[in-house]
Symmetry: C2
Subunit: 575 residues, 2 copies
């Protein structure tokens, strides 16, 4: 019961002029990074690896589909496939009934996770032995007590590296934090462990955590398992890869501008960004400590919507985060049945007025809207208001400390800056630090936007808003410049599901039309993003959309997402 802050020095700021320092980095930090990489390589159990059909660079160049390959070449045993292609809802049922042991579940997932890492470069730390020991303990408990330790008993869960893990380096994408070894788990990690989860892999994120991509100084880039040329997204980069590939039952990511939804969308799984203060973010690395204008949230990625629901319900109702983090609201997860599509009114955003979507996303929207209409949904075309104001404001709010904390954490090691770090450090007003008055005024604008969208829902009796997750399918690595489609829901703090449509990019049909090619761009950002799309370079990329509901009506969003995915016939466990 102590607060260990020296109040006076805490408010004193270091000067910060230069934050890239090759000499310092090479001498003081690179050896630590190299050790970290070696530890990662050494932690890979040989027996779970496969001989890649080509060197990885060639596979990347060839837009290799690792998921297809996994099934075609039967890289797992039939039993391992059977286990890792169960929904987690079914998995916990079979464990609880004694039909499956935690150890056999764990081994199957561990095998698939190692394959995921070989193809997608998703991991930061792997600790199969520790996970196996945890699984054995779960089995011992079950044997002794005849019941599970909790609703996630024996579920192999992957964690974004940013989350504090007791006794393990936790760097959050900053080399300077390679010396940070927390004594205790972060709150969410601790809760999941108590609920019975088994941990074995911590996954990659970009430098600064502020890209919708994956590049970092530790391990480079993570990749989309359906096309290795493409980005896995970010900042929960490795979570997208590993869950999309099926290497963990449920992944845990965090999202301040799209960082759960982009990787889920790009990498071929579903991801849910809850409303703030339902899931604890306490205990982890971030440049945003004390930033509460647009708080980050923690949330799950999975291959089925009911698994997202299971995770949310177990975490909130049995994990009671408010007993560990005063920030969390004691708002129980409500059971709401999956609605009938014909009872729903859904507003559709086809364009946010900032960056036009590419042909596969356009097709995805068309097909989903058509199926929703066929199923009886009322569809309203929605031209979202003030998106430019919202996007400018959210970027200023992220960075209105003049990116001070990011620059400080970068400067400490002098690590080389990723291209997208440089891009992001120029967001907001770059290194210009705002005053409190300016921050407050931005908050007022944010609140007006929140009320405006809230009133849109209420006045038009709209249940949900359907929108693109991004203006494109998974982009090429280090080429993700726009996050207007995801960050809109962060500044509005609305619960949002990124869900797979079951459609994949097809170069034979997903082409710009002649008319689209003659389009007059509304901004350099739009031009940059749109000109990056050439249909032959995005083969097989998953097509995902977002479903957004009213603030704190998270349960309804997840439930409706299930209904929608069901009528679309999406089943990510089938190949």
């Amino acid at each position: 019961m102590t607060v260990s802050i020296n109040y006076e020095t805490f408010l004193t700021k270091d000067p910060l002029d230069n934050y890239e320092d090759e000499a310092k980095y090479t001498k003081e930090w690179l050896p630590k990074v190299e050790k970290y990489r070696k530890d990662l390589a050494d932690a890979i159990p040989k027996e779970y690896t496969t001989q890649l059909p080509q060197p990885i660079d060639q596979l990347i160049h060839d837009q290799f589909n690792a998921v297809d390959y996994l099934y075609k070449e039967k890289l797992l045993t039939p039993e391992e496939f059977a286990i890792t292609d169960l929904s987690t809802v079914d998995l916990v049922g079979k464990i609880a009934s004694g039909e499956l042991t935690s150890v056999e579940v764990f081994k199957a997932y561990a095998h698939r996770a190692i394959l995921a890492h070989q193809f997608t470069n998703c991991a930061q730390q792997i600790f199969i032995d520790e996970g196996l020991k945890q699984a054995e303990e779960r089995d011992a408990y079950f044997k002794k007590h005849g019941k599970t330790v909790g609703p996630l008993h024996g579920v192999p869960i992957s964690l974004k590296e940013q989350m504090n893990y007791a006794g393990k380096i936790t760097h959050g994408g900053y080399v300077s934090k390679i010396v940070h070894i927390p004594e205790n788990h972060g709150v969410s990690t601790g809760i999941l462990e108590k609920l019975g989860a088994v941990f074995y892999v911590r996954t990659s994120q970009p430098q600064t955590l502020m890209h919708l991509d994956s590049g970092n100084s530790f391990t480079g880039f993570s990749k989309c398992p359906f096309n290795l040329l493409l980005s896995s997204g970010g900042s929960s980069s490795g979570e997208g890869s590993i869950v999309g590939f099926g290497g963990s039952a449920i992944g845990v990511g965090s999202d301040i501008g799209g960082s759960i939804r982009a990787p889920a969308a790009y990498s071929g799984c579903h991801g849910f960004r809850p409303t703030t203060r339902r899931i604890s973010t306490k205990g982890g690395i971030s440049s945003g400590a004390g930033q509460e204008s647009v708080p980050a949230v923690v949330g799950p990625l999975a291959r089925s919507i009911e698994d997202l629901d299971l995770w949310m319900k177990a975490y909130i109702n049995e994990g009671k985060p408010w007993e560990h983090d005063a920030w969390a609201i004691p708002l129980p997860w409500r059971e709401v049945g999956a609605p009938k599509i014909s009872d729903l009114t859904i507003a559709v955003i086809r364009d946010d007025g900032l960056v036009r979507v590419t042909p596969p996303i356009r097709r995805g929207l068309d097909e989903v809207v058509n199926k929703l209409k066929q199923a009886g949904a009322k569809i309203i075309e929605f031209d979202p208001p003030n998106t430019k104001l919202a996007y400018d404001t959210v970027n200023k709010l992220y960075d209105c400390d003049g990116n001070y904390m990011q620059r400080k954490l970068l400067a400490e090691s002098g690590e080389p800056l990723q291209k997208l770090t440089k891009w992001n450090l120029n967001y907001g007003d770059g290194a210009k630090e705002y005053t409190v008055s300016e921050n407050r005024k931005l908050n007022v604008i944010r609140d007006q936007l929140r009320d405006e969208y809230n009133q849109y829902f209420i006045e038009n009796k709209v249940d949900f808003i359907l929108s693109p997750t991004y203006n494109n399918v998974a982009p090429h690595s280090a080429e993700v410049y726009n996050w207007s489609y995801t960050a809109l829901w962060n500044i509005l703090d609305l619960p949002t599901l990124a869900f797979q449509t079951g459609l994949y990019q097809d170069p034979t049909i997903d082409k710009w039309t002649e008319e689209e090619l003659n389009y007059k761009y509304r901004s350099p950002l739009e031009q940059l993003e749109n000109e990056n799309y050439h249909e032959e370079q995005f083969i097989g990329a998953p097509i995902a959309l977002q479903l957004t509901g009213r603030r704190y009506f998270d349960e309804e969003v997840v439930a409706a997402g299930k209904s929608i995915v069901d009528i679309l016939g999406v089943d990510l466990f089938k190949h």
Copy 2:
């Protein structure tokens, strides 16, 4: 559906060097203020007034007890007493059964409100005719439909002036805002009206809203009805007076540092400060727009705890503030029964380490603790940690815009500064505006404090914390310097009830002991506050305490408050 802000000019700050300007104020603003005062005087129906037994200045000097006088001299008819001394729970029952009409209820309260104003100077605006018309409409509705319009049908409710009221000046204690006439009600006013409330009086608050006292340029000071020499408290100053006197069934105040609890405590009623985001604060005057480090909350004052519960339940469950204000959380008000005292573990703060309490407060704590122990409660003596850090931090957080917005609103009229305005403008770091980084660091400290106290509850299985509301009973006007006892619960954002103990200052027993007189002060603030206490100057002042619970466990606090008040035998409707 528009956001009417020019984004660029909104971030441009006016220079602000001097904010008191006698010439400008006298010429441009004073005539408006005088018109405002005249309108208030003209709005008082003669038939509801009484002949004061002495000029008001003499009554103030004589520490006149207006509540005693009201009963002794029978200033109301027996029927009016019967109505205005019903709990609101009973009142709405009798209206709903047809036993009482809204009009007869209204007239009785209007009469008592006018008397309250004569003695305590509680009102800013009075509009009996409009209230009567509203009451008549309620009766007409009831007659036509055979049911009430809502759970507060016909309840005369007083409103802190700060809250936007459609078509009426809403100044929030700033002369410069005398030109502000909102088109619409603020959200909470609108909700209460829809629930059936009847409005007829808007009440006083101090200049800047940032005193626990009442002094403003419009009407001067409001007074404690039990001793007119003393302050009614603030910033919901007039709400304390009018509810304490029984001139409204339920009052609505707001609280950022004690502004519901201090006036309730000083003026002889109960007041509840809910956790943030349960009751809407949208639509009103404040210097804190966009300040979300320590947000203000709106909450009720009443003469019984069950009336506070009624108001909270009706407002939240039927008012659904989240449909009108995206800031509000859709967290329903739960029905929790009043607990048995013997089931409770209560931690007691007798001293916060900053300012020693005066003899009547010491006696109140002793007596309440003894009765709780007799009733079987487990009592833990609690020395609250880090109160200095908490108090410094909360004062910095209020004022970390360098008081820019307060100074701006003052400078526009050049109105003379109240003594406590000058005091408050030097809080935090005065006119020094913080950077965003500094604000964020203060937020981090705040969150650590919140976790520390949250863990105290959890680890010690403490249900509630009992503490003084202030280091003294109601102080003399313009002599309220310390708010450490109330503001602690604001920075921690814990739901807190200020409740009457049924005890009143008694100059024959509430004296400093010899030992206490030889006390060595821990700070000039403590000395200033303690030296202001002379037992003969606080005769009959109500003795109130606070009960605090865990964040968002508002229902439990109110329910336990009822149990405690019951064993204390407090009945504020009886005289």
